[in-house]
Symmetry: C2
C-alpha cells in the first residue's frame, strides 16, 4: 500500500511510526483492544491532531469517534514499516557496547535478529557472546552476501567506523545503525541512523537554565 | 547570549547543535583551523543553507566568504548548549546495558561524568563497574539531592521505567535519557530523550524496498 502513495511521505512522519507501534504494543500488553489518537498522544507527548494526520497518509485506520482497533493498527503499521517479517542483522564490534547490544532482548519481537557478530581483534575471535561466537571481519563480506543480510549495527571505535561502513555497503548492506560517535558518508541509497547518547544529553542541557 | 534571544529557538534547531559540535571537534582533531557551512554540511548530510540559518539564531559566527574559526565556533556552541562545564549524571540500572554505558568513554570530554550507578537488585549492590561501586536505589534520592545532580540515564527494564523516573524527578532530576523501550510521562519542566535502537531500525526498514 505505501508504494502506491504519492507524493512520498515525509521522513519525519516515517520516523514517528515506530513510536506509535511501540505505544500500541504496550497498550495491547495492558489488555486494551481499542485506543484513540488522544490516548496515544498523551502517552507519546504528541498532539492527537498530529497522530491523525500522520496515520491518514496510510489510509483510514479508524472511524471518527470510534477509535482505532489496536491489533489492526499494529498489523498495518508493521506492514508499512516492513517489520511483519524478521530481518537479519550483522553486528560489527564485540567490545562492551557490542556485547550489550547482543544481549538486548528488545530486537526479536520487533522484527530483528542478530545473525552474526564480527570483530577485527584476534583475541575476540571465537569468543562466546550469548548464542553467538565472534567472527572475523574477514568473513564479513562473504557471510553478508551469502545470507542476504541488509542491515548492520556498527559498534566500532569512531576511527574505524567509515572504513567498516564502506566494507558493509560493498557487501550489500543497505541500512546501518551507527553507534560510533562520528558521521559516516555512504551512497544515497543506503540508510544511516545514529545512536549518540551524548548528543541527546547536550540537547537537554540547553534547557537546564534556572 | 541565548537567554536574550526571542522568540525561542525551535527545538529541532537545538537538536542539531550537538551534531555540529561533534563534527567541529572532529575537524579540530584532524588539525583544521577553519571550516565552512559547505564542509560541515557535506560531513553531516545537512544543507549548508540550513547550517547557516541554524547558526544565525545565535549571532554572527563567521563572515561571508571567510568561513568559521573552528575553535571559536566550538566554544560558542559549548556555551549555548551549556556543556562548557561538567555535568554529573546518575545512571540507574547496572545490567549489561548499564555496564556498557558506564564503560563508554565518550561522555567525559563532551560535558558529562557518571557520578553514581544505582540498581535495585540486592546481588548487584557493591559490585565494581569501572571506577564505580553499584549503589542501592534506596540511596538514590538522597545522593541526587545532596550532590545536586540534574541528569539521569535510565537503563532499567520497561516495567520499572516510569516508577524510577518518578523517583528521579522527585529527587530533583531535570533531564532523563531513557534507554528503556517505553515512553515515560514526567512534568513539563523535565526534559526526556530516548535511546531506542529498534525505532531507528524500523524507520530504516520502511525504505528497504526493491
Amino acid at each position: 500500500m505505501p508504494d502506491k502513495v504519492s507524493p512520498p511521505i515525509p521522513d519525519i512522519v516515517i520516523g514517528r511510526l515506530p513510536l506509535y507501534l511501540r505505544a500500541l504494543k504496550r497498550l495491547e500488553q495492558e489488555g486494551k483492544l481499542v485506543t484513540s489518537s488522544q490516548e496515544l498522544g498523551s502517552r507519546l507527548d504528541i498532539s492527537s491532531a498530529q497522530i491523525r494526520k500522520d496515520l491518514s497518509h496510510f489510509g483510514g485506520f479508524g472511524k471518527q469517534g470510534t477509535g482505532y482497533h489496536i491489533d489492526f493498527l499494529i498489523e498495518r503499521l508493521q506492514a508499512v514499516l516492513q517489520v511483519n517479517q524478521e530481518w537479519k542483522v550483522a553486528l560489527v564490534g564485540a567490545g562492551n557496547l557490542g556485547a550489550a547490544i547482543s544481549h538486548y532482548r528488545g530486537f526479536q519481537d520487533r522484527g530483528f535478529r542478530i545473525a552474526h557478530i564480527f570483530d577485527s581483534s584476534p583475541e575476540k575471535l571465537g569468543e562466546a557472546i550469548g548464542e553467538h561466537r565472534v567472527r572475523s571481519v574477514q568473513e564479513m563480506a562473504a557471510l553478508i552476501a551469502e545470507e542476504d543480510i541488509k542491515i548492520a549495527m556498527l559498534a566500532v571505535p569512531a576511527s574505524q567506523a567509515q572504513a567498516v561502513a564502506d566494507q558493509l555497503v560493498q557487501a550489500g548492506i543497505r541500512a546501518i545503525l551507527n553507534y560510533a560517535p562520528i558521521n559516516i558518508n555512504v551512497r544515497a541509497d543506503v540508510e544511516v541512523q545514529y545512536i549518540d547518547p551524548v548528543s541527546h544529553l547536550q540537547h537537554m542541557t540547553y534547557y537546564l537554565r534556572d
